[in-house]
């Protein structure tokens, strides 16, 4: 009687553990599955805006200077100011542009390019378009005297 009660307890505990383990596996699988683009959460609001923003490796400061407020649907030109950590303008840097909507899993709808280096650390980027409202990332890969680095702007359209 006592033994069987004990056995029952052990069985119960095993079943409980199995259920817990199963739940954890299901949970991990679910999280793994849903951690796709759709469930990436927005950064805090202080992370949004046109800068100045420090690059990932802390080599440069970048500021977006749009001639007009960024608008939906329009092909537009955006200027970016690149400075070193001491605040001196960085000229002659190579800059490539990437980005997209992390929550939608797609990139920029166009392939913008730096078309002119205007001097004073200012570069002109042409071919910028945003086709949806919401959170966009606008990423610059910067190759300059202080090395290769990147900066990501979070923009709300």
């Amino acid at each position: 009687m006592k033994t069987s009660a004990l056995n029952g307890n052990v069985r119960h505990r095993h079943r409980f553990l199995a259920t817990m383990l199963g739940s954890i596996i299901v949970l991990i699988a679910t999280v793994g599955y849903t951690a796709s683009s759709h469930n990436i959460s927005r950064p805090a609001s202080k992370e949004f805006g046109q800068g100045p923003r420090v690059s990932l490796g802390r080599n440069y400061m970048a500021t977006l200077e749009a001639a007009q407020p960024l608008r939906l649907r329009k092909m537009q030109t955006v200027r970016v100011r690149i400075e070193d950590v001491a605040g001196h303008p960085v000229d002659g840097a190579g800059i490539t542009i990437d980005g997209g909507m992390p929550q939608h899993g797609h990139g920029l709808p166009t392939r913008p390019r730096v078309t002119r280096n205007l001097g004073g650390g200012i570069y002109e980027i042409e071919g910028v378009r945003f086709n949806m409202g919401g959170w966009w990332q606008f990423k610059l890969a910067i190759s300059g005297p202080a090395g290769d680095d990147s900066v990501t702007f979070n923009l709300d359209l």
């Binding site: 759709h38 939906l72 649907r73 092909m75 939608h104 899993g105 797609h106 990139g107 920029l108 709808p109 166009t110 392939r111 913008p112 390019r113 042409e126 071919g127 378009r129 086709n131 949806m132 409202g133 919401g134």
Partner: protein, 416 residues
Amino acid sequence: MRSKFTVSILASTLLLAVYDAFLHAEEWTDDQIRELSSMSLGELELPPDPTNKMSGDSAAAAFGQQLFFDERLSSNGRVSCASCHDPAQGFQDGQPLGTGVGQTARRTMPIAGAAYSPFLFWDGRKDSLWSQALGPLESPVEHGGTRAQYAQVVAQHYEAEYEQIFGALPDLTGVPRVAGPVDDPVARQAWNQLTENQRDSVTGVFVNIGKAIAAYERQILPGRSRFDDFVDTLVATGRAPIGVLSSDEIAGLKLFTGKANCTQCHNGPLFTNNDFHNTGVPPRLASSPDSGRLIGASDVLHDEFNCRSRWSDASPEQCVELEYLVADSPTLQGAFKVPSLRDVATRAPYMHAGQLATLPDVLVHYNQAPPAVIGNSELVPLGLTDTELRQVVAFLASLTDSSRHADATRPGRQAF
């Protein structure tokens, strides 16, 4: 005594608060009004078309209108642009797939507002209205004819109109009736036997046919709807007008710009961002899914009549859409043009191959967000209730041109 007094004061305050909430139930915030004002028809600005010098020419538009309805511009003499783009039906045909001399693989698109779009067709394989118009003329399942035939129709029937706009017609002596760079081997062989000068002469007339039709199509615009009346009053006075939209339509509008996420793509005065997205709509034939924009983006880069071609009136630096085009991203797989939602309630069936019969079917699709058969769908399930789905459908009917017949605004059978 005092407690009774306090209770009655509290009750009155509560009543006042409820009454106030009722009165201002339709208050709109400044942000909401700003968003709605961006969707009013009055916000439309017709972009210039540097690829077509005649795009704003009224004589070209009148000539283009004649060509648009001319069935001689087809292999069997029975198909014109208007056969599928029927003006009585909002310049579309109400069929799942377009039918010319044969059957196409996609839904006929409406024309109103097409001049605002940088890329045409469901896959955006053309970058101007005139180059778009030339595509169906040479398609074996649409007009089915050849550019030599069309040049001769113009020479025979429209000499005066053509020469008034585009100058002297070229000499077409020796050009056979059937010749063109099309699939048909006989027509292709005849085309290859022409001299380069003859081919250029024929193509020049063919291009001008497209440019005249484009001038006509550029004038075809969506009409004002009850939604525009509602928004214009709201913007002017800060208050929603009474009796313009029903309470269901207003609730649907709030869902449209909010929980239902519709304005992420269907934004601006035409309710489209003019771009391409994969929304996981099941292909008509599961065995041969349509790649959509992935092919279309590559096609437009290499198109004989694109903005950079010698047939375009634009200088190369004006071809910014091609300059910054994304043509090789995997997200283009299974992506299709976001259509305008103006007059959408009059335009069943829906999607790029008419796969969904009614607007309620479309809303159920967006609400469920099934995975894509080809590429990756950008949709996420919306969690809308049946009432909310019905309200969005009700709102969509408020986008119908008010001058159209009331019968045309019925959103279709009720599914929820």
